[in-house]
């Protein structure tokens, strides 16, 4: 590993603003966020995976993976970021290094040719080149190749140096975004910068979630100028430095770029979420307040309040008929960060009981919010081993699991409904309209008559004796690290 890469990794983790890090005891904090992976008990993606997650939603870029086949052959075409324009980001480009390439030391030459070919073939806005384990190990200097290619082909070619072995998905998020800060931000200028131009960072527009929110911004006259999110164009990354405010959606990994935009270009930022009614309203309020503070017309504030009032009222009206269908149901929540409490409050408002919420990637602040909302900390837990979760669900101590894809089969195999609330989900749950969709999804899931049929014994089975339910106290469940890594 080059010294430069080592330094970059160190920097990436010394993120002063990082909430996760800030939440740790002093001693741990010094180690940075790098999690020590346990052989035989690890899960989750590598740094390359993380970088790709962060950057691939940029739609008009050719994402070129400099690696043997597996890195991208097994990984391309597996995410649901929606685009309203170019489909280029959905194509899989790789140098597909062979044994011969490696033995002969042809890596850099092949990469250079591949860059030339992808520009000729696809006419991309830019090429992002990702280096992975093998190309790092054999010492390919992708920085130099990208520089030469940029000059020769007159098209931005951005090196993203993320060998998988340097660490986790989280680290890769950071390294990916760093590459943008270093090479892209500030390289293009908008035609007419406005006083209500904003940056949105870290929403993947899964199944169109960003578009569930965009009409709200449209009505307020707020323009998404800069974006490292789903449906972003390269130009929107390059113009970020001209926005008036940055909103960071649910990702500590992207904090570096928000902070640097503030330091270098004086753009204030805040962390917000469009998940749940109250979060959505809060995010809109903060956005408008900050824009007005930076010189946007003051009537933005009352217009925002009017919009919120109207939308909240309509949403509550739409939710009303669904309440009896979901009220009283017991949800086990297995997610992370701010969702640990924002979803809780949204569900409680509907009369849904949250029997447990995981505290992974949660800050002290998050913990406090949960305790406040739920009135006790008995429902907080850390990780849970699949076998434990299976047992809990099989014993029907929760009516539904809401989590990411990795725990999907734990719920299903326990004959318990499961709702995807993480990245792989097929339905958009953002903003006000998304909340209604989510509750409809809960309704569909928990009220599906299939569950009753599935739980009945086969004709050849003596019906199992039904033991009375033991009280469900999550604190008693032994946790196990690294069984899932959902967010």
């Amino acid at each position: 590993m080059s010294e430069a890469l080592k330094q970059k990794i160190q920097d990436a983790f010394h993120e002063p603003g990082c909430a996760t890090n800030a939440a740790k005891p002093e001693a741990e904090r010094k180690k940075g966020c790098a999690k020590q992976l346990t052989p035989g008990a690890a899960a989750g993606g590598c740094a390359f995976d993380g970088a790709m997650i962060a950057l691939q939603p940029i739609t008009d870029v050719a994402h070129l993976v400099h690696a043997p086949l597996a890195c991208w052959g097994n990984g391309w075409d597996n995410r649901g970021s929606a685009s309203s324009g170019s489909e280029l980001y959905r194509k899989g480009f790789t140098t597909d290094l062979t044994e011969l390439d490696i033995v002969m030391g042809n890596g850099e030459k092949k990469l250079y040719r591949a860059i030339r070919e992808v520009i000729a073939q696809e006419n991309p806005a830019a090429v992002f080149v990702y280096a992975t384990c093998v190309t790092a190990l054999i010492g390919d200097d992708i920085g130099a190749v990208c520089k030469a290619a940029t000059e020769r082909f007159g098209r931005p070619v951005i090196p993203v140096n993320v060998p998988g072995y340097v660490g986790s998905k989280n680290l890769g998020n950071k390294l990916g975004v760093d590459a943008l800060v270093e090479h892209v931000v500030g390289t293009m200028e908008p035609a007419e910068p406005g006083l209500t131009d904003i940056n949105i960072i870290g929403d993947f527009n899964l199944s169109g979630e960003l578009w569930q929110v965009k009409p709200l911004l449209d009505r307020l006259g707020i323009r998404i100028l800069g974006s490292i999110s789903g449906d972003a164009r390269y130009a929107q990354v390059a113009m970020m430095h001209r926005a008036r405010v940055t909103m960071l959606v649910c990702s500590h990994a992207f904090m570096a770029i928000a902070r640097k935009l503030e330091e270098r270009h004086g753009i204030p930022w805040f962390e917000g979420s469009f998940y749940g009614i109250s979060d959505t309203s809060a995010a809109l309020r903060t956005l408008c307040r900050m824009l007005v503070e930076r010189g946007a017309p003051a009537d933005l504030l009352p217009r925002c309040e009017a919009l919120i009032a109207e939308e909240e009222a309509r949403t509550r009206a739409e939710l009303a008929p669904l309440r009896p269908r979901v009220g009283g149901r017991r949800v086990l929540l297995y997610t992370g960060g701010h969702k640990t409490w924002s979803v809780v409050s949204a569900l409680q408002e509907l009369g849904i009981e949250v029997v447990g919420t995981s505290m992974r990637k949660a800050t002290d602040g998050d913990r406090g919010r949960v305790t406040e909302i739920m009135g006790t900390d008995a429902h907080m837990y850390e990780n849970m081993a699949p076998a434990e979760m299976y047992r809990l669900l099989r014993e029907a101590r929760a009516d539904v699991l809401m989590s990411g894809g990795r725990s999907q089969f734990v719920a299903l195999k326990a004959r318990v409904p499961w709702i995807d609330v993480n990245q792989e989900k097929h339905e958009p749950y953002a903003g006000y309209m998304g909340m209604v969709e989510l509750v409809r999804a809960i309704d569909r899931a928990v009220n599906n008559p299939m569950w009753a049929d599935l739980r009945e014994p086969a004709p050849w089975e003596v019906p199992a004796c039904e033991a009375p339910d033991a009280p469900f106290v999550l604190a008693s469940v032994p946790g196990s690290k690294a069984d899932f890594e959902d967010c």
């Binding site: 008009d60 170019s86 520009i119 006419n123 082909f153 164009r233 569909r444 008559p449 299939m450 004709p459």
Partner: protein, 455 residues
């Protein structure tokens, strides 16, 4: 309990129903060495034959009494006699199954009586079994015609015989494919029971290449086996339409078990429970595994079928089998069926129209249906409404392998759930900003550099 609606209209648009005589002919074709014979004008036979050829992709030996202007007025007794004579001469069938049509039933002839008298007289016809079912086109559809034929066969050919240990009668419904019948027969055999299947299309219309050319059905239930059905320990009838046939066998002392459906977890469980009781045998491991696989398939498929709005246009028994299965997975049905039967009334929905594809198309549009489940004639409607179309029932003329689709038993249910889920998946929804009322992104941001000229 569904309320049956009879749409208030004189016009039928795009018929859903298939005629009863055709159903009878199909049943007759499940007998070995059979030739079905329509008592009517030759067009009735021609239309039905083309219909079946297009579905089965097989030559269909269907004959007609060729009623003409004279016999239409004066009666067609002689036509039948002449037809039997000619058929025997040309194809040497072991069995001739006659189905009447609207033409002769409107005249109100006593065909059955005339036939009895004629057969008594024509002793030279003795080595061909001749059966007659009254199946006017204006009453019932495919399932009813099929059932009438099976009843006629039982009436004519089943006799009292001593008990035959471990033999059971299986009466498949009209809409069971060769693969369905094989699946059910396999389940029965797995319990050590021996089924006599009446009729058995899985031997005659399963699409096989024979070594020679015959003018009658190639395979099917043997007449000798039919004669023994009175000795079976039980009758297993599939579909409500088969209840009268089962009752006839019950009158001969064979207990009747009518299964309204063999599709869906609970329906198959009920069937298996009966096989367990009848056989006293252990449940085979393969069946336990099949159930575990179906259970898993339900989990995977429910994401796509739960909440799915399905427009279903099927005959009552088939509709009941597939409709209850989908409803048990959380689908919401919009139903049209062909005849007002007990099965139709038990469809898992508030209201069922007894109507045609035109009714279904209007209802599907009204209810925002997302998938169409009906026979091949629905394809134009599916195209107009942009719906994925799962083909079921008769006819399926625009796909191959209609008889290979198994939707019966644990395995068939699994396949059906996957089929429906995959039909949904084959019409993926691509979200667009407009779907949510979002304005398009400014074209300013789009990449517009011309492609590089050098490379």
């Amino acid at each position: 309990m569904a309320r049956l609606i009879h749409p208030d209209r004189a016009l039928s648009t795009n018929p859903l129903k298939v005629s009863a005589p055709l159903g009878a002919a199909m049943a007759y074709l499940g007998i070995e060495g059979a030739i079905p014979l329509f008592h009517g004008a030759q067009g009735c036979t021609a239309f039905a034959m083309v219909h079946m050829v297009r579905h089965f992709k097989e030559a269909i030996p269907l004959q007609t009494t060729a009623m003409n202007e004279v016999s239409a007025i004066l009666g067609g007794g002689e036509q039948i006699e002449e037809a039997i004579e000619n058929i025997r001469k040309r194809a040497k069938p072991a069995f001739i199954g006659i189905a009447s049509t609207a033409l002769v039933e409107t005249r109100g002839e006593d065909v059955a009586g005339e036939l009895r008298e004629m057969l008594r007289r024509r002793t030279d016809f003795a080595d061909t079994a001749v059966v007659y079912a009254a199946t006017p086109d204006f009453a019932g559809g495919l399932e009813e015609g099929w059932a009438r034929a099976v009843e006629a066969i039982i009436d004519a050919l089943v006799v009292e015989v001593p008990r035959r240990v471990r033999q059971v009668n299986l009466l498949p419904g009209a809409n069971m494919t060769a693969a369905d019948i094989e699946e059910v027969a396999g389940m029965i055999r797995a319990f050590g029971l021996t089924p006599v299947i009446l009729p058995d299309l899985s031997l005659s219309l399963d699409g096989h290449l024979a070594e020679d050319w015959r003018g009658h059905s190639l395979g099917g239930t043997r007449l000798a086996d039919i004669a023994t059905m009175g000795g079976s320990v039980a009758t297993l009838a599939i579909g409500e339409a088969m209840r009268p046939a089962a009752d006839r066998l019950a009158a001969l002392g064979v207990p009747a078990h009518v299964f309204p459906s063999l599709t869906g977890l609970k329906a198959v469980d009920a069937f298996v429970a009966t096989l367990m009781r009848l056989s006293g045998a252990e449940v085979p491991a393969s069946l336990r595994r099949d159930r575990a696989r179906l259970s898993d398939a339900m989990l995977d498929a429910h994401f796509h079928i739960g909440g799915l709005r399905v427009a279903m246009g099927l005959e009552p028994d088939l509709g009941f089998a597939l409709g209850t299965t989908l409803a048990a997975m959380g689908a919401e049905l919009t139903c049209v069926t062909t005849t007002a039967t007990a099965a139709a009334e038990r469809l898992p929905v508030a209201e069922v129209a007894v109507g045609d594809l035109g009714d279904l198309e209007r209802a599907a549009e009204r209810d925002g249906c997302q998938l169409l489940l009906t026979h091949a004639h629905g394809r134009m409607m599916a195209e107009r409404l942009g719906l994925p179309h799962v083909r079921a029932g008769f006819p399926i003329f625009d796909r191959l392998g209609a008889m290979d689709a198994c939707r019966t038993g644990y395995r068939g249910t699994r396949a059906f759930l996957f089929e429906v889920a995959n039909a949904v998946l084959s019409h993926p929804h691509r979200p667009r900003p407009e779907d949510f009322g979002a304005a398009r992104i400014s074209p300013e941001f789009d990449h517009a550099t011309p492609p590089p000229s050098h490379h």
